[in-house]
């Protein structure tokens, strides 16, 4: 591998009650690069993101951030490290307006009083860069926004800050053509500015257009993490749906043991 990763995970396990969702997952995100995280529905991508951002505690595994081992117990810890996340389920406060949501938890103040004009202006500038043209007022409650508008607000909220790692979980799912292009451009720009970016997407065109590396999750296991240039479209789709493709992916037979325990031995594969 070229550089040292900004964030590195090793041996992450995560269960919900009797259901094991992540199994011995290793993952790395590099500064200045866009890492695409792909996988089938229910593969565990969002769960992995939530483990990184401290929403879920992990059952096992290490986090290394910027070379130092860290513990992330809550989203506050993640934010303190400079990790920003756009969640798939957006997580906006419906009873607050756009500006209030964008600055939630990090309000601008003058003295103890909220500095509303500054926030409103900053919000307007950020949203302007994301091709949102149909929002009537920044003081609209987010409950009255369309699906795409909500998504844009969530993205704008995450990129407003000087962070080191930005994770976007299917950020363009609800966006229109122009908005999607803008967001992909933004993703590229963030990486070019030296940030580590993790992008989750089901759209292979977008993935290949913007990413430097591709990590593929299959049924809770990381089956490959490779340079985008080293892999083809068809191979990625095969990794996603079957867990292996040629030399990449699961080495043994696919895990089909319905009710049994976890399979023996680590099966994390992939070269880069």
């Amino acid at each position: 591998m070229s550089a040292t990763p900004l964030l590195e995970l090793r041996g992450i396990d995560k269960s919900f009650g009797p259901v094991q969702v992540l199994r011995d997952v290793a993952f790395a995100a590099y500064p200045g690069e866009v890492t695409a995280l792909v996988g089938d529905n229910g593969a565990g991508k969002s769960t992995l993101v939530k483990c990184i951002s401290g929403i879920y505690p992990t059952d096992a595994g290490q986090f290394v951030f910027d070379g130092r081992p860290v513990n992330i117990h809550s989203p506050r810890d993640a934010a303190a490290l400079g990790i920003e996340v756009v969640y798939q389920d957006l997580a906006l406060c419906d009873n607050l307006d756009i500006v209030q949501n964008m600055f939630l938890g990090r309000e601008k103040r003058s003295g103890i009083v909220l500095d509303e004009p500054t926030m409103e202006q900053m919000a307007a500038d950020t949203l302007a860069g994301l091709s949102v043209r149909t929002v009537k007022s920044l003081r609209q409650l987010v409950s009255s926004l369309s699906g795409g508008q909500r998504q844009t607000v969530a993205i704008a909220k995450a990129v407003l800050w000087n962070s080191k790692l930005v994770i976007l979980d299917e950020p363009t799912a609800a966006l229109g053509v122009a908005q999607t292009a803008q967001v992909l451009e933004l993703v590229r720009r963030l990486a070019d500015n030296g940030l580590a970016v993790v992008l989750i997407s089901h759209n292979m065109n977008d993935v290949f257009a913007v990413s430097d590396r591709i990590a593929a999750l299959y049924l809770g296991q990381m089956v490959a993490q490779v340079k985008t240039t080293d892999i083809t479209h068809a191979q990625v789709v095969e990794l996603i749906t079957a867990g292996r493709s040629g030399g990449l992916g699961l080495t043994g037979e696919p895990a089909t043991n319905g009710n049994g325990a976890a399979p023996a031995g680590s099966t994390t594969g992939g070269v880069s």
Partner: protein, 419 residues
């Protein structure tokens, strides 16, 4: 167990029966994960009982065990009705005094007007239904928050009780059938018979369900587990009936006192009906749906207003039943019937049992378990002989302890991420 699918062509629903071992392992994982259903309430109850038995050995007597049921009956019945309202995320503050109004109607019809007991009971239940309909219409059709509607009801019904009691008189209830409800017991043999019927019925339902699912190739619990459940129920019911059939008269020469109190089968039947309605009918399903996501329910074509009205009717009707039991127990109705702490205890019972105030989560059994917690606290505190100030304080603290057993065990659920 892994997240891997069992068959490539479909979800894991259609599979063979898991083994007993994996079932037990699964259950244990769930318990450790904090998903434990009724366990915490039962645990809290056990802790309370142990503490009281140690402090006051008379707590453990057969007589006290029997008293527990009649003491807690009225609050439990009201709480059972409240569960329906709480499932929608609504509240009924008027349930206490609604039970008072119904009790007052009962007493007036049977004592003042001199009609037979069944007319009085019918009148009381009908009153409850009318009250519930009015409350429900105001909430669903006019759209006033249920807290406000039922706060108004709380005030108004208090006045109605006073008016029915002619501004504060007590009315005695001396009809022998009505008095029997909360004060007499079943003949010992009948107790055994009812317990046997209950176990047999449960067994039939469980086994039929097993056969039905297995025949279609759907996942079933292992047969051993099904049998264990049936056996468990049989043991619990058997023990309870045995305890209640012990002689508990202070002086057998004077009179004999034994058997299952009559309120017990009443509560049991209502519990079974309520559970059936909530879990085995589409009406019950719709209640959960409206409570979980009103908008989704509306979009699914559920008549949300009708559901909202109906739960208030159920709640007030159950309050009427509670009022009848209270009147029976006191042999009289006074302007305080259904007042003072009845309402808060009833809501508290439902919540302690595990019903959420935000809707969508709860069972009728919760009300019974929570009602038992409240009754045990009240019963135990009555044996301690504290002065009123101390008694209030200790009651509050004990309630907190019982609830924190529950909270602490549920915290594991949050910690393991299954929130």
């Amino acid at each position: 167990m892994s997240t891997t699918a069992v068959k490539q062509e479909g979800p894991a629903a259609v599979t063979s029966t898991p083994s007993v071992g994996s079932h037990v392992r699964d259950y244990w994982r769930r318990v450790r994960g904090g998903d434990i259903g009724a366990l915490p309430a039962v645990l809290g109850l056990l802790v309370l009982c142990t503490v009281f038995s140690i402090l006051r050995p008379s707590f453990l007597s057969a007589g006290n065990f029997a008293n527990l049921f009649t003491q807690g009956a009225a609050v439990t019945l009201i709480a059972m009705g409240l569960v329906f309202v709480l499932l929608l995320g609504e509240i009924d503050l008027s349930a206490g005094f609604a039970s008072g109004v119904c009790a007052a109607v009962l007493a007036n019809v049977v004592t003042v007007l001199g009609y037979p007991w069944y007319v009085a009971v019918a009148a009381a239940v009908l009153t409850g239904m009318v009250i519930g309909t009015i409350l429900g219409l105001l909430v669903a059709k006019i759209g006033i928050p249920s807290f406000v509607v039922t706060l108004a009801g709380f005030l108004a019904f208090q006045g109605v009780v006073l008016l029915l009691m002619e501004e504060g008189r007590n009315i005695s209830v001396r009809d022998s059938v009505l008095v029997a409800i909360a004060n007499r017991n079943l003949p010992p043999l009948l107790g055994w018979a009812l317990a046997a019927v209950a176990v047999a019925g449960y067994a039939a339902v469980q086994l039929l369900r097993y056969r039905n699912r297995a025949a279609r190739g759907l996942v079933t619990d292992p047969m051993a587990v099904v049998l264990a459940r049936i056996g468990g129920l049989a043991v619990i019911l058997g023990l309870a009936v045995y305890m209640l059939n012990l002689e508990r008269s202070r002086n057998v020469l004077i009179s004999s006192l034994k058997g299952v109190p009559i309120v017990v089968p009443i509560i049991a039947v209502l519990l079974i009906i309520g559970t059936f309605v909530l879990h085995r009918t589409s009406y019950g399903r719709h209640i959960y749906a409206v409570g979980g996501n009103k908008e989704a329910a509306r979009r699914a074509g559920i008549n949300v207003d009708r559901i909202r009205i109906s739960v208030f009717v159920i709640c007030s009707t159950m309050a009427a039943v509670g009022g009848i039991v209270a009147a029976s127990r006191a042999n009289s109705v006074d302007p305080n019937t259904g007042g003072s702490n009845v309402l808060l205890y009833a809501v508290g019972a439902a919540v302690i049992g595990g019903t959420s105030l935000f809707g969508g989560k709860g069972r009728v059994l919760d009300a019974v378990l929570g009602g038992a917690v409240v009754a045990v606290i009240d019963n135990g505190m009555g044996l301690m002989g504290y002065s009123s100030g101390v008694k209030y304080v200790v009651t509050g603290v004990v309630l907190l302890l019982a609830a924190s057993v529950d909270a602490l065990s549920r915290r594991r659920a949050a910690a393991s991420g299954s929130r």
